[in-house]
Amino acid sequence: MSNTYENIAAGLEYFSTPDGVPAELNAGPGSGMGLTQNGAGPIQVSPRIEDAFQAALVNAKSKATAVTIRVTVGDAAGCTGSWSTDDGQTWTQFKLNDGTILDTRGYDAGTVIDGDHPDYYGDGNGPRFFADTEVYPNPVVVVDGTQDLHIGFHNLFGSTWIDDVVLETNPDMGGGAGLPWTESWDSLDLDTAKWETAGHNPPMFHMAPIDPGDGDLAFLMGNAALDWSTKLRSKVGWPRGENLRCTFDLFGLDDTSRLGMDFVHTYPGASGFHGPFHSTADIGENIYATIDAGMDFWWNIIGFEEGGAATGLQTTNFTADDAFHAAMHPAGRDPEEAVGRDTGIKMRFWAGDVSGFFMEWSLDGGVTWTPGATWPDSNVYDTRGQDMMTRPDDEVVPTGNATLLYLGFSTAQGGVFIDNICVGNDSNPCVQGTPTPNEVDHWTFY
């Protein structure tokens, strides 16, 4: 009978280094669960997944606290994986403690990837391999290219419980709350697994996807009374960390009758977006009161908002500079200019890993970005890393610091379209290669 650890083409495997076996096996350095492949051979050769994953395994004492694990194989060779402790609502890609992503998809089968990594085993002892190199030769990862795969589970010791096994192709990595998480409104029917709305009652109240006139659906929000009844909130959230960010497109509805609507105001009048990041998914909460990293508005003035109601409603925060308003409100600057997708604005909000946020905007589809800045001095707004900030009225208030962020949007009355939403982080970016803006190389709010 084969030793089962010799058969793993893509999956997880426990290892312990000969000199690193700790008192608490997977909780200590030098041992734990690693992402393995290619039959791995000796059980001690898998790159160790970060401490947070090992801790989650320790805590997995029932189905309620189980770790959900997802392993994806490359179409030709290699593998990667991710894990979740909230039943697949949020996922973290497998990585080493230093953030190195474990992903060998895209390598040719048989490619040798050596373990020359500063903390390959997670024990802080630097790159070193087993003394008996004939038994445990360096290099330590050989990319697997086995084409036909079984699903298999095995035990070493202890008592393991496996449940809810699913094998699929083309998995919806953007569904649920996996990152990157996307929404482009491909159907007139709202995806109720992802979103919850309130107040939709056209033609005077609208909170649903619609064809703005170019055949490309977008989400239109607007209403006929300033009662804050119309809201859109995501049902899922994402933890701050790894530069969590949200990108989306926004444009206006200049003539509400064009789509059969009857809102009080035409864009940009009374038109904001009150998002993207909120501290709650509770549809009952006022949309302006829960913004943790985003912007609200007061009449036609868009302002930076965080900490929700804690920092005050609308009139007390820093407002955006003229450049942003000129971009956001083209119709307001030139009544003859059509408002629509072509004159829309793309925005990207970066949540601080612990608190605060930074935003930037683009008028060329995200090729170039302008940092969000405050009126009247055009100081870049960036509160990431700050736990407190001083408002324009000299009140010192907490920055946004909700640990789990949800999406939420609403205008007030004027018609506003939202489209092409994407939430990502460093491990799961919306666009590969997008760099993180430098923090605090400018004026801040202390």
Binding site: T4, M33, W161
Partner: protein
């Protein structure tokens, strides 16, 4: 502007095509080990997994003591490098083939991580089902 040069026009167009043409997921296999219809189900006694699907050696479906009654899971216990179960059928790579599962333990902190070896294997051990 800081980000000029990071994205080429072809890359942007390619990304747009990907976004514009979502591909539906297809489930190839799933098992929640609910033991429906299997002999012994509901007795709370260990029963084997579906042997038409799984090649099993000393694995059983058992209700985890902290789970709901009747919610079976595939259980493996004690030190034995060969205990486990494989699907008899194989599945080809391609289209982001992905296996998702839940894992937990009743063991102490000392043993949980040692217990899982998963999920995609390159071969079924010979004679596995024979014990």
């Amino acid at each position: 502007m800081r980000f000029i040069g990071y994205l080429t026009v072809p890359a942007i167009l390619a990304l747009g095509l990907i976004v514009a043409q979502p591909i539906s997921a297809e489930v190839l296999f799933e098992d929640n080990f609910d033991a429906t219809g299997q002999a012994g189900a509901g007795s709370e006694d260990p029963i084997p997994p579906d042997l038409a699907v799984w090649d099993s050696f000393q694995t059983n479906l058992v209700v985890h003591p902290d789970n709901a009654a009747g919610d079976y899971s595939l259980n493996m216990f004690n030190l034995n490098l060969s205990k486990g179960a494989y699907t008899i059928q194989t599945y080809p790579r391609g289209s982001d083939l992905t296996c998702t599962f839940k894992a937990c333990t009743t063991s102490s902190i000392l043993t949980i991580a040692a217990a899982i070896r998963s999920p995609m294997a390159s071969m079924a051990p010979s004679g596995f089902g024979d014990g």
